[in-house]
Every structure is written in structure tokens, then in C-alpha cells.
Assembly symmetry: C2
Homo-oligomer: 330 residues x 2
């Protein structure tokens, strides 16, 4: 295999000159031209491990997220990788499954590899991130002012969800969410929803599930089936994610009430499972592309001399599909 010495010999320069060229250290243009020609002729491939050792800098970004296997996270990962690619960075994908110890392992690994930075969507306790000396950008979860933070306007979005239901004629609202430790975004959605209801004297009830994730659809189905078996106690439902809205939608297929005629339904996220999917459930859409762009921007331009890092709160917008009535037919 061709090595740096072969290139130096062919170009009639020192090995150090070749090394500088490969590591983007400035050398005289005529030497650079000779090295470039020799590299081409010999089809020399520089060893990245050696280069990153020399520069003590890597072009890898570690992306830690709960799972790649949801529409929102797979769309987000898709756009983050596009943004990284534009800037010549690579993504090391780490599914944490919300496991504290796995996150700790990934962060240790990031330190060992001396990666460029960490992008994280984490609901773990904060300690792993405190021990890192690598630039970190956090999506959805606020840690502290030293860590740049990108999120959607969860409070405002949920407030608007209640408002859209109300404007379309719903008067007795139901909010559906699960308790997720450290997921403050979800609680902000709850607060925004309640805020609208109290300020507008709307009746509302909160279904706050505290059980495990796997059986949640079953418990929710039981709850709704019981509530809606004889009466229609709510005429508007807001769920804090589109996934929960899908569960609600499936349950109503077996109930004596129709969506959106009897009960309107709004979710939150607006992610698609693939790029040209048609959505069914009206939702508060997050700007996934912009979340990706800003996260990568903050990481690439990270400046640790700033005492207070940037905080981006992106607007969400109501997107009408088939589970809400038109404004003029309320």
C-alpha cells in the first residue's frame, strides 16, 4: 500500500511537507502542486486516523436520540444528516432508548474519539452531559445556559391547538398525555393547553397516563371506550403527539361517534413517515427542517467563550387534515 514516504519521494519533498499538505497546513504553492500530482499518480489515500490524531480534531458528530424508529426522529435524522453533509461532517447515530447508561457510554465514546461535537435529544438526568468537554447542542430538552438549545414552541403550539378546536366549535375538551420523566416539552404542551382553556372558560379534562409505553394504546383504548360508550362527553381532543392521536383515531373506528363530525382531534408534530406521505390527522406541525439546520449551525459554530449560549424557540403551525371541521362548518 502506498504511504506518505512514497508520496514524498515521488514529489521530491520531505515527508513533513506531505503531512502538512494532507492536514491542510499551509505550504508553498509550488510544493503543494507537486504533492497533489504525486498523490494523484500514486492513488494515495491518507489515513484518517493518523490525520485526526495529528489535528486532534475529528469530522464526526455524535447524534444521540431515544430511537430512530419514529416518524419525527427519522425525519429529523434525515435532515440533520443532510445539513452535516453540506458542512462535510459525518453522523455517528446512537439510539439511547432513553437508557441513562447507554447515553453515558456514548458520551465516553465521543470523548475517546475526540469527536467534533454531540447533538442530543435526551430525557436522562443531566450528569452525563456535564462531564463532557465536547461541544453539545441539545434539541427539545433544556439543560442549562451553557448548552445551546433548539426547541419548538410547545406552550404556544398547544395553546393554539386548543384555540383551533374552540374556533371550530368544540366546547368540552380532552387532553391526552403520558408522564415522561424530564420531558419538559410535553408538560409545556399540557400547560399551554390548560392556559387556553382557563382563559376562555372552556371545560376540559386531562388524561395523564402513568403506565409503561408498550401497553399505553391498550389503556387509552379502554379509557376512551368507557367514556364514549353511551355519551359523547368531549367534542374536542388534543394529544401531545401525533402517535397518541393515531391511537385515538383507531379507537374511534369502533365507537358510535365520528371524527370530525362529533369529536374533533388535533395532534402535535406533523412529521411524515416518508417524504410524500399524505397525513390524516390535523396537527401542530414542528418545523423539522429548521430544527435540523439550527442544531447543526449551533454545533459547527460553537463558541465556548460565550457564557450564555443561544436558545431557539421555533414557531409551530396548525395544519388541517381530516380530523377537524372546516372553519365555516362549525
Amino acid at each position: 500500500m502506498v504511504n506518505m514516504n512514497d508520496v514524498a519521494k515521488k514529489a521530491n519533498v520531505s515527508r513533513g511537507t506531505v503531512s502538512n499538505y494532507v492536514n491542510h497546513v499551509k505550504i508553498k504553492p509550488e510544493l503543494a502542486a507537486r504533492v497533489e500530482k504525486a498523490i494523484e499518480e500514486l492513488n494515495y489515500i491518507p489515513n484518517q486516523a493518523a490525520r485526526s490524531l495529528k489535528k486532534q480534531e475529528s469530522d464526526i458528530i455524535v447524534f444521540i436520540l431515544p430511537t430512530i424508529w419514529t416518524p419525527f426522529f427519522s425525519e429529523l435524522a434525515y435532515y440533520i444528516q443532510l445539513e452535516l453533509q453540506i458542512q462535510n461532517f459525518k453522523m455517528l447515530l446512537c439510539n439511547s432508548q432513553n437508557d441513562y447508561n447507554l447515553e453515558l457510554d456514548y458520551i465516553k465514546m465521543a470523548q475517546e474519539q475526540k469527536v467534533k461535537g454531540i447533538l442530543t435529544i435526551s430525557y436522562s438526568d443531566i450528569e452525563p452531559y456535564l462531564i463532557s468537554n465536547i461541544p453539545i447542542v441539545s434539541i427539545e430538552r433544556y439543560f442549562n445556559s451553557a448548552i445551546p438549545f433548539i426547541t419548538s414552541d410547545n406552550f404556544g403550539g398547544a395553546r393554539q391547538a386548543a384555540e383551533e378546536l374552540h374556533k371550530r366549535g368544540s366546547k368540552r375538551l380532552l387532553l391526552i398525555l403520558r408522564e415522561l420523566p424530564n420531558n419538559l416539552g410535553i408538560f409545556e404542551r399540557m400547560n399551554g393547553f390548560i392556559d387556553y382553556c382557563t382563559h376562555n372558560e372552556l371545560e376540559y379534562e386531562v388524561y395523564l397516563d402513568k403506565g409503561n409505553s408498550i401497553d399505553f394504546p391498550k389503556r387509552l383504548d379502554l379509557f376512551l371506550t368507557e367514556k364514549f360508550s353511551e355519551n359523547c362527553p368531549f367534542d374536542g381532543i388534543f394529544t401531545v403527539t401525533d402517535r397518541y392521536a393515531e391511537f385515538v383515531f383507531n379507537t374511534f373506528a369502533h365507537l358510535p361517534w365520528s371524527i370530525p363530525e362529533d369529536v374533533q382531534l388535533v395532534g402535535f408534530d406533523g412529521a411524515r413517515s416518508f417524504s410524500n406521505q399524505s397525513l390524516t390527522i390535523s396537527t401542530m406541525s414542528q418545523d423539522v427542517r429548521e430544527i435540523a439546520r439550527l442544531s447543526v449551525k449551533e454545533l459547527v459554530e460553537f463558541d465556548d467563550s460565550l457564557a450564555i449560549q443561544k436558545k431557539h424557540i421555533l414557531p409551530v403551525k396548525f395544519t388541517e387534515f381530516k380530523t377537524t371541521r372546516k372553519l365555516d362548518e362549525k
Copy 2:
């Protein structure tokens, strides 16, 4: 920052001994114990770049796939990362968007980084993979006998899809697919479907779309709307992926015929958008978890002395949801 010399000094051993310990080269147990103690006390973090240079081996697997943003690929990536994690490998995720030049870039990058191996789902021309001297395992696409290959039984699965429609009373079948260069799996699904129809003297028609991906739902909608406006010329439809079946399902919401009463519908893949999603469309399910397991196994155990590498063709199974009739109500 603590370095290897500090550890050597503290442990009262040579720097080489520390280096050997860190790189898992066997050293005397009493020395190992001293080094381990010193590493703990000093909170020393070995530099992975230096280690991988020394070992000339990395623990990174490059996973090249068209896009992470489909249910099938995000479920597959999820399971592949789980499998890699069990074996202490990391995944570098690369969305190629089926772009030949991007794939070439990723493979060059893999060579430069001297990664452990490449997992690929590629429909590009074969050249990029031929120039690599790194172990490669291919999913879905057969390259040649030197590259281990994992796929589902596309021919048999599609054959069975036609059979399941037939058994449930469908007699005039429609097959829907798009022309995708180098995607032989899709053509095998076509062949399997046709094979069943011809052997059982069933009428069938093939809708083979040749346009771009973005407007495909629109063209398909037009085609179906015209075909089904006055008559119901087909009573069974098989699409080569679940995504296309979703498009068909959406179109039928506006047509005067019902699924599954008038027209039965079967897709292919069986992937979920998230782990506890309820599916609607009957499908030929691929064993995503097993594809992930075998792909990682073949890569980790890759043996380049074998002239002919392993070829795994995994069974798919019919999974009934709401778009086919029960067997007894045909």
C-alpha cells in the same frame, strides 16, 4: 490533560506497557492491575484516534442506505444499531439518496477512516463497491458472489400475495410498481406475482410507472380514478411496497368502491413507523429484525478467504389487516 506518560509514571511501568494495556495486548497481570489502578486514579481517557492508528482497526461500521426516512429503513436502522451495539460496534449513518457520487464519497471516507466494514443498501452501479478493500455486506441488492448478501424472498412473497388475494375471492388482479434502476428485488416481486397469475389462469394487468418519485402518488391517483370511475375492473390489487398501497388506499376513499368489500389490497414490507403502531393494510411482512441480525453477523464474521460468500434469502409472511377479507367470507 492526563496522558499516557502520567499513567506510566504513576503505575511505575514503561509507557509501552500502558500502551499495550490500552490496546488490549497481553501484559503481566500484576502490571495490568497497576496500570488499571493508575488509569482510575488519574481519570485517564485513552485517545481513540491514537488507538485505532496503532491497531489499524476501527470499531465503526458505515451503513449506507438510500434514506433513513421511511418506516422500513428506520426500523431496519434501529435494529442494526441494536445488533452492532451488542458487539461493541458503532454505526456511521449515511443517507445516499440513491446518488452515485454520494455513495462514492462515503466509500472513500470509509477507506480513509479504515472502518471495520460497510453495510449497504444500494441501487447504484456497482463500481464504487468494487474499489473498496473493506468488508462489505449488501442488503436487498445482489452484487456478486464475493459480497455476502441478505434479502427477503421477493419472488416467493409476491407469488404468495397473489395467492392470498385469489384464495379470498379476487379473480382480476392489478399489480402496481415503479421502475427503479438496479432494484432487482422489485422486479422479482413483479415476476413472482405474474408467475402465480399465469400458473392459475388469472386475469391480471401491470401498472408499471416510469416517472419521477415525487409525482408518483398523483399519477397513480389519476390512473386509478379513471379505471375505477364507472366500472370495477379489478377486484384485487398488489403493490410492491406498503407505501404504494397507502396511496391506493387514500385514492379509494374518493372512489365508489370499497376496500376490502369490492377490492382487496395487499402491500409488501410490513414495517411500522414506530414500534407499537397498528397497521391497516394487509401485507407480506419482511423479517426486519432477522435481516439486521444476519447482516451484522456476516459483517463481523467476514472471512475474505471464502471465494463464495453467504447468501441469505429470508421468508416473508402474509399478515392480515383490514384490506383483505377473511378466508371464510370470500
